[in-house]
Structure formats: structure tokens, C-alpha cells
């Protein structure tokens, strides 16, 4: 990858879409990339739709606007499909990945005629089975790594185990579950 | 050490001669009395709000302050001195200042800079507990700008923005009780005082305030011959009557415990104090007796309340 990749995240306040975008930036940074991670700023309120952005590149990034024509879109909560035009500006040769129990074909109907690749992942199921609770961030992070191909999957997993060791230094018992969630998510993206 | 006037007067005047306060002004008398509370060997950083005191004691290139002095603006003496105190703590901690040297921090403000425009800055500095003393020299109006009413101005007083007119007879509101406001900050030491008698009350309280760790507050009556309208030589008489009428009680609040330092055996009627001042002249016109009665009532009620507070806060546990 040499060109600039732009990613837009849609979530709801409190679900961690912003955190997920920062985690992706971290992972890409740790594999040597230039990165940007920033939310669409405003008073963040629980439940309100929020947007976050990533730019990832092998070259220094100078552009500082929001992202209007993303290469990829991540939707952390499929109830947003009703409320938000999630594919606005999304490049046709890009892809959208939605956290949903539905199939990509079922989702495509809600996407206002988007013709590019549609992927889904059941982040709830993976999260609950591996972490015992619903944390959509971890599966969605792996899903966008898979869908976008922005970094080598093994390098991503190697980096994440290090960052989980750091993040969960006081409760190492959750590291395995998180790593399992990542591995399963890399394999359970539908519509590739 | 017990207060001794002549011993106290041997200390250097830390507000030096050559300042340009009015002849007979109460403020420099109060300031020097406060500063005699400092141990001679201690250095002080003194701040002042913009006001008579500041513009008359540091007119470039002359300073009347024997200690370090800082003035920034009208409403920020509290925060400015708090900043200097914070710096002292940091520099001490970093070993940038000699260990055996002690610096004390004192802010002065008139009632304008303290009761009104500077109240927020004062409240913040006190609440944060900087090791400093804030001294309000209260002359009951904005004297520096030409005697405009302040929230410290007594009810009915004639000022240039509360003139005694044909319809409205002077200031209509009671004065704010700032000493009580400061008591609500739960400070280790709060005192109300005035230059009085042999100055034991004011200087002893200053010493307590300066050497009590934490944020302390003093409210000092400082008569103004121009603003109050009296011949300059009457300064001490006006202080004495303010105390003897219980208009300006001498008291202190030590860790929440009230101590009334002086209880006159015979409270002098407040009219005796009022009649010496031109700002109250209209109260003595026929038909205006009610105003004097109202002021007397206000003074009496506040005095009784103060005595009650003393009783309540000194109850045996």
C-alpha cells in the first residue's frame, strides 16, 4: 500500500467508535505507517450518532480536512443505517463493513444503492462468546483490518497482543479473550 | 509576645514615607499597622489591587514599599498574590531559594477591589488555601475614582452614584457583610479590625493572620476624609466611634469559632458616628429621622447576631 487510505467510522456516543478509530491508528502506527485519528468534534452525548476518521499512509499526511470520500466505512451499530447516510461519498472500489447479524445482501438494501463491496460481521456474537460482554470495538477493529488490507494480519495480531499486555497489565486474564476475538473476527467477516 | 505599642513602633515602617495618599488618609495608617505584624527578619511579597493605595504608593519611579510589591489590575489582587505564593512553593521545593529565608504573602484591596470587582479572585485564592493574607481596607466606596457607591457603602450614604436626591435619599441597599462571606470559606483565620486605641487589636490580628498557615482574611475599617466628609484630624475619632457604636465590631473567627474582641459597656448610638460625616448629613434633616432609626436597627440586629454566633460557636462540645 502506498497511497493514502481514508476510513470513516459511524457509531453512537458511548459505543467506542472513536476509541476504535484511535486503536486502528495505533495499530497502523505500530506497523510503521503515518496516521491520523480524529473524531468529528462536538459535544459527545450518549447514544447520539458520532463520526470518527482515520487516514493511513506510507507517506507523511498533510491534509487536515474531514473525510468526504472515504475508501472504507465502518458501521459499529446497524441501527444507524436508518438514521445516517453511511455510504455518502464512499468510493465504489472501497467497502463498507457493518456490525450486524444480517448478511451483506440483506444490508445492501439499506445502503441507498451503494454498488461497492458490503461486508458484515456479528460483533455481538463474537464479543459475547470470547469476552463474555458486548464490546463491539475489538471485532470491528479486526474486521476493518481484514476488509481494508491496510496491514499484514499477523503483524496486526503481534502488535495487538503487545498493546493488550500494556493496556490490561492489571488484568492479564482478559488478554486471551481479546486476542481470540480478533482472530475470530479476521475469519468471520462476511461478503469478502 | 504581648503587644507593646512602643516596641511595635520601633519596627521599620514597611510602607515608607513619601507616598502620595491624601493627608489624613486611614489606609496607610491601617497598612503600616498590618505590616507591623511581620517579623522584622521576614521578607514579604505584597500585592495591591488598583485603587488609592496602589496609585499613591507606586508612582513611577518611586515605590513606598520596603518589601517586594506587585500590582497588576483592579480585580485580581487575590489571584496575583496567589500566583506569587505558588511560585514560592515551587521554588522552595526545587531548592531555588535559601532554606532559612521566609517570605510572607499579603494582598491589599479597597472595598471596590475586594467586595465587588475582585470578589471572585479573592474567593478563588481563599478557597484554594494559598498561604497568604488578604487585607481589605474598607472605606465604604470607590474613592479612587471619585466616591462612587460600592457594596460596602452603608445604607443611605450619599455618594456620587447614590446621591441623596429629592426622590431617592442616598444608597438604598444594606452593605454586604464581607467578613461573613469570608467566614463561609472556612478559613483558618478571619478577622475584622480597625486602627483603634494603641493599635493592639489590628497589629495582633495581623500577626496571627500572617503566621497562620493557609489563606486568611482581614477586613479593616479605613476612614476616608474626602469620601466620608470630615476634617482630616478626626480619623481616629471616626474609627473609635465606628467600634463603640458597634457599626464595625472588632472580632475574629478562628477555625470557625467566633471571638468578639471588644464589647462596649455602653453602646454609643450610631447617630453619634453618622453626624460627624457629611455623607450622612441628609439623615439629620427634619423628617428623615427614620433613616437613622433604620440604621440603628440594622446595627443592633447585626451586633446581636454576632454575639449569638460567638455563643453558638463557643459551646462546650
Amino acid at each position: 500500500m502506498s497511497k493514502l487510505i481514508e476510513i470513516r467510522w459511524h457509531g453512537r456516543g458511548g459505543q467506542g467508535a472513536k476509541t476504535a478509530s484511535l486503536l486502528l491508528a495505533d495499530a497502523a502506527f505500530n506497523t510503521g505507517k503515518y496516521i491520523q485519528g480524529f473524531p468529528e468534534y462536538g459535544p459527545e452525548r450518549m447514544g447520539a450518532p458520532i463520526t470518527a476518521y482515520n487516514r493511513i499512509s506510507d507517506e507523511p499526511i498533510t491534509i487536515h480536512s474531514n473525510i468526504y470520500e472515504p475508501d472504507f466505512v465502518v458501521v459499529v451499530d446497524d441501527t444507524l443505517l436508518e438514521a445516517v447516510d453511511v455510504t455518502a461519498g464512499l468510493k465504489e472500489d472501497g467497502a463498507i463493513v457493518v456490525n450486524s447479524t444480517k448478511t451483506p445482501d440483506e444490508i445492501r438494501g439499506s445502503l441507498k444503492g451503494y454498488k461497492g463491496k458490503v461486508c458484515t460481521i456479528d460483533a455481538r456474537k463474537i464479543s459475547e462468546e470470547t469476552l463474555g460482554k458486548y464490546f463491539p470495538n475489538t471485532p470491528m477493529l479486526a474486521a476493518i483490518v481484514k476488509v481494508s488490507g491496510i496491514m499484514d494480519e499477523q503483524a496486526f495480531l503481534d502488535d495487538m497482543v503487545e498493546s493488550f499486555k500494556h493496556k490490561f497489565a492489571k488484568k492479564p486474564e482478559v488478554i486471551d479473550g481479546n486476542m481470540e476475538a480478533l482472530r475470530r473476527s479476521l475469519n468471520e467477516v462476511n461478503g469478502l | 509576645m504581648a503587644y507593646n505599642l512602643k516596641e511595635a513602633m520601633k519596627k521599620p515602617n514597611r510602607l515608607a514615607s513619601g507616598h502620595r495618599m491624601c493627608a489624613g488618609c486611614g489606609a496607610p495608617v491601617a497598612v503600616n499597622a498590618i505590616l507591623r505584624g511581620l517579623k522584622p527578619e521576614d521578607h514579604a511579597v505584597i500585592g495591591s489591587a488598583t485603587g488609592c493605595l496602589e496609585v499613591s504608593t507606586f508612582i513611577y519611579p518611586y515605590t513606598a514599599w520596603r518589601d517586594s510589591f506587585v500590582h497588576s489590575a483592579f480585580e485580581n489582587a487575590g489571584a496575583t498574590v496567589a500566583g506569587a505564593e505558588a511560585c514560592y512553593k515551587a521554588m522552595k521545593r526545587k531548592g531555588k531559594l535559601p532554606e532559612d529565608e521566609h517570605t510572607k504573602f499579603i494582598a491589599f484591596g479597597g472595598d471596590g477591589g475586594t467586595y465587588d470587582i475582585g470578589l471572585q479572585s479573592l474567593s478563588g485564592a481563599m478557597e484554594r488555601g494559598h498561604d497568604m493574607v488578604y487585607v481589605c481596607y474598607d472605606n465604604g466606596a470607590y474613592m479612587n475614582t471619585g466616591i462612587q457607591r460600592s457594596s460596602a457603602t452603608p445604607r443611605f450614604a450619599d455618594t456620587t452614584t447614590s446621591p441623596s436626591g429629592k426622590v431617592v435619599p442616598g444608597k438604598q441597599q444594606k452593605r454586604k457583610d464581607l467578613t461573613e462571606v469570608m467566614a463561609g470559606h472556612h478559613l483558618p483565620y478571619v478577622a475584622q479590625t480597625a486602627p483603634y486605641g494603641n493599635f493592639s487589636d489590628i497589629t495582633t490580628k495581623a500577626e496571627k493572620a500572617i503566621y497562620t498557615e493557609g489563606a486568611c482574611f482581614m477586613n479593616v475599617l479605613a476612614p476616608c476624609p474626602r469620601g466620608w466628609g470630615y476634617p482630616t484630624e478626626n480619623l481616629m475619632e471616626l474609627c473609635k466611634l465606628a467600634v463603640d457604636t458597634c457599626y464595625w465590631p472588632l472580632y475574629e473567627i478562628i477555625d470557625g469559632r467566633y471571638v468578639v474582641n471588644y464589647k462596649p459597656k455602653n453602646k454609643v448610638p450610631v447617630a453619634e458616628w453618622l453626624k460627624l460625616q457629611k455623607r450622612f448629613a441628609h439623615l439629620f434633616k427634619p423628617g428623615n429621622e427614620w433613616m437613622i432609626e433604620e440604621l440603628q436597627k440594622e446595627v443592633d440586629e447585626k451586633w446581636e447576631r454576632l454575639l449569638e454566633l460567638e455563643a453558638i460557636t463557643n459551646k462546650a462540645e
Partner: protein, 98 residues
Amino acid sequence: MSENKCNINAKSTWKELTPGGTIYDAANSEGFHTGDWRSKKPVFHADKCKQCGLCLPVCPDSAILMDESGNRGDFNFDFCKGCGVCAKVCPFGAISME
């Protein structure tokens, strides 16, 4: 009495003024005499003075001279503005305003 050591006066050029107007010479106001503000002059009658000291703290201008043992002497007319507060507080009539 300290002099105005930095020698700054109304004719000083910008190069001669201290930056920011900071003065490094504490209490140099003692070089600025306010005695000419006086319209009435206090007169000290040493014979009537009992050395009670009550006049000392009431002087707004610290213009009453004092010896090492704390006894008052005459006025410092370099600074006395003639307010008369001292005369009024003296219990013994040892100060008169003339």
C-alpha cells in the same frame, strides 16, 4: 534616607527607564518629599509630652521622628502633610496645629 538610585526622572530617555517600570530600589519614595502639601503645621511641645506613643501609629506618613529607645522627637517635615490626626489623639496637648 535613600535616594532614587536609578536616577530616573521626567527627562529620562527610553534607554534609561527600567523595563516594565519595575523599580529595584525599595522604599525610594523617601526621596520624594510630600511636606509641601502641608497647609497647617504641627508644633511639638516636648515639655507636655509624656511619651505615651499614641501619636506614632496614627501618622499616615510616618512623619514623627523617633529615637532608638522609642521616644518621639520632632516631626519630619519632609513628609508631614499637616493632617492633624496626631494633634487630635494626643491626650496631653503636646501637639498643636498652627
